[in-house]
Symmetry: C2
Subunit: 584 residues, 2 copies
Amino acid sequence: MYLENITSPADVKRLSIEQLKTLSSEIRTALLGKLSECGGHCGPNLGMVEATIAMHYVFDSPTDKIVFDVSHQCYTHKMLTGRASAFLDSSRYHDVSGYTEPSESPHDNFIIGHTSTSVSLAGGLAKGRDLNGEHYNVIAVIGDGSLSGGEALEGLDWAAELDSNFIIVVNDNQMSIAENHGGLYKNLEELRLSDGTCSNNLFRAMGLDYVYVSDGNDIESLISVFSKVKDVNHPVVVHINTLKGKGYLPAEQDKETWHWSMPFDIATGKLKNEFIGEDYNDLTALHLMELMKRDPKVCAITAGTPGIWGWTPQRREEAGKQFIDVGIAEEHAIALASGIAKAGGKPVAGICSSFIQRTYDQMSQDLCINDSPATILVLWASLASMTDVTHLCHFDIPLLSGIPNLVFLAPTNRDEYLAMLDWSVSYTSHPVAIRVPVGAVKSADRPVATDYSDLNKYEMVHRGKDVAILALGNFFSLGENVCRLLKEKGIDATLINPRFISGIDVEMLDSLTKDHKVVVTLEDGALEGGFGEKIARYLGNTDLKTLCYGAKKQFADRYSVAEFFAENRLVDSMIAEDVLEIIR
Amino acid sequence: MYLENITSPADVKRLSIEQLKTLSSEIRTALLGKLSECGGHCGPNLGMVEATIAMHYVFDSPTDKIVFDVSHQCYTHKMLTGRASAFLDSSRYHDVSGYTEPSESPHDNFIIGHTSTSVSLAGGLAKGRDLNGEHYNVIAVIGDGSLSGGEALEGLDWAAELDSNFIIVVNDNQMSIAENHGGLYKNLEELRLSDGTCSNNLFRAMGLDYVYVSDGNDIESLISVFSKVKDVNHPVVVHINTLKGKGYLPAEQDKETWHWSMPFDIATGKLKNEFIGEDYNDLTALHLMELMKRDPKVCAITAGTPGIWGWTPQRREEAGKQFIDVGIAEEHAIALASGIAKAGGKPVAGICSSFIQRTYDQMSQDLCINDSPATILVLWASLASMTDVTHLCHFDIPLLSGIPNLVFLAPTNRDEYLAMLDWSVSYTSHPVAIRVPVGAVKSADRPVATDYSDLNKYEMVHRGKDVAILALGNFFSLGENVCRLLKEKGIDATLINPRFISGIDVEMLDSLTKDHKVVVTLEDGALEGGFGEKIARYLGNTDLKTLCYGAKKQFADRYSVAEFFAENRLVDSMIAEDVLEIIR
């Protein structure tokens, strides 16, 4: 076995082409071994084995710098840069992250997890190199749907002005997470069909030099082309045509399903622990399909991530023109929703909390200044959601709740969520964002409002005294538990479902001042700039004390959710303890 | 005169070509008349006179929908849609805004002021039209530097998938605010030089149909082409080659200066009230030039707006490769800064508060997760800065201050600002953002720290008792004034310069609990999610009361700064009054 003896790229350079081919098989076996146990990005890694070997064969990392877009395809890179054991030895599987991570290796230049950033980041390395008067190769790897993102296109456009070494490897696997969308992919197809020779060429039109590799899984031709562009004195695009999922038949045949997978059985391709039951993703897609059938003006918008909110290929097909995948282009998704709403349509855009971070300006300028009555579903928003630092879903409340005109809602259960969604789709006065619940689907155990037009009215679930708990969205049940614990200590706490993240129920808060001493806020997100702080400010000049619970300011990474909650005192017993300490 | 008789586009359609030419002269005279009195966007409007006339001659607004990017070139459109008097009658100059404004006219579809949004917004109108089963033309106008913005490129890429009417007019005036940057502009040049026929074509490469108009200031050819694309059944780009500033020689000759101008004398082109004296923009550019001379690793980055922080063409030339204009591409600017810093360079990116809104994800992911030690100057950040709703500079504190790893500083005077800038450029532990002071340049009247590495340590300017004023950045002098007024009432208030927007000086705040009753926070920005709320939360479970001052949640528009400050009680006497009421 070659792989277990590779401690650095120098060991790759010593192998013959035939040996490199054997190495690529070994890498695929290792990939499948780990992926089937731990889950992770299957298709992207399987497709990039040969290109990564060839890059390390030709270039001299870490002097030469390789920057992987999203870095979800960096597993082979990790194996070739001293971290093979994290893929070969199951006891060490968790030694490395699923993305590039400079703290692991000097061969990793950035922590990257969002798409479409590599050209700009690598462009910065190239410009920094030039300012320092140094000389080395800078290589940005991009593709797998990322090209359509605004930042990537800005980066490509800028790159043409750099008059020094810069190599942009476009990994064209004909896919995004789902199928590709956008006109530029037609051009990539023309380029593939013409062996890179067709007269219209997006990259050349952006002022860049261009080379095509027709088989991006052929080590020899990759080495040949990378050798030619090594030490080039200007920016050049190397367009490589790869097969996503290569070497694992299920992944080659169903590229969307195998983009990322939970642990699976290699022989059958079946998930080891398939989730059975209702989840908020399925619920959302199914409910929207019902709305679409009743009203042709209703449409759903995704930015390249249909699967994360239940939009399977079959459902997309059924929805037809009422389902719009704009490709990875979150900014466009929000502006498009604003335009559709202005034209009288009823758009519902679903964006993951982590990716809605890309759209603050579109939310503010395109949507909210124009008061376009679109619905934005903020998906997966929870401290218990994704735990990789680049995919945290912690920051959407601070990001969105201060934008004027936006009604931002936090449903606490299934029925309240669907009622809010129905109301929002028919509401025409303001844009509405809904923080879609995360976790097990719970039905309402109390009546649910159907009309939310009376803005910023909180729901008084139970009126007690001394202590009031404002338990927002996902944390409503945490609030219920705190109340239960306080009850055991003889305190009849008030329980409030705020419902509106974006406003203060002045009347209700004022009513608390008479017979309450402490107000507790609970939110399933970052504390800084969040919901609790608004309450603390409003009550700042009263005699009421405030205690705000949420995540303290930090970029947490690959954390245990239970430990994270304990560290942040997001545990019913801890909160009850804090309250008792203050009140006594 | 034709212009004064035009009450709607129907009146334009009645004129002959010769009459339209006369109309264009009348419009230019009106433009210069108003611009010379009120200031505004000169070059963009002068260049688009003929194209706007031709659009209204051919299309049927408001049934057909025209969406102007940035909408800073919509003055002719306003004149032709019933608002000519706002340009002809000086007593009515302020009847209309400088941007499209649906509340003024059904011919205006959106409130727009940021760049690069028109294709996505108009694309939404087109998609909404299709969902509704309606039929009309949708026209997006874009250009003047906006094409390089990520949202615009995302929009163009998406547009190719629309299988219905959509017309994208690319106003190619060969300029951004300053000169254009980016490879795509080389392609526009090739297209101009080849009369639109060169084989490489960015728009076709994005999957779009394409038509070229060689003289975009010739009404006849514009009418001819617009007539041809009217009612087209697929997306098409109409690339028109226009002259920015056309018809006013100073504006034709110095396009950058005349992009936007203060009131001027038409005969000489001289400003009526030229600002004489030091401002923070000049100060910044001059100081950075000094740093650059001493250290070749220092570089300045702008996203198409060099002029707003003192980077005149001459200074840019002098800085050479140490000055980087990435074009209108704010996302790329921040990612680039991160890359340069990682490569050992010392980048200083200057972005207007209003436009930094486009970069939250790049600030968070590309810069701060990677802890790249770049410096970001947040320019013009103040409630007293730009007052058009699309250009508000109110929201940068809520946006940035919650991002982990970012050190966000608020200098209170010239010397503190420059000391922070020097420190930041040499600091290598974290990214630093500096909220550059706005208003008259003030020198320090107390010693200024040179080292800010001891993070989140506030400056205790005066230790009094009972009342503490935390007066942030631009509002430090407001804090001084409040202290003075309180002194007159016998209260010796504590005055604190927080310096760090992004953190809490726990020790200092704790020390206040002993002998203080009220803590007042003053910040020159939006209250929601801002600095004061962090303080209110931290002190929420103490006996200290908090009073937070800043702008209440709203999209203010074209406000009188004095009135706005009074409405938000951002007046020393009002604040003193509030404090006295609480404390007595």
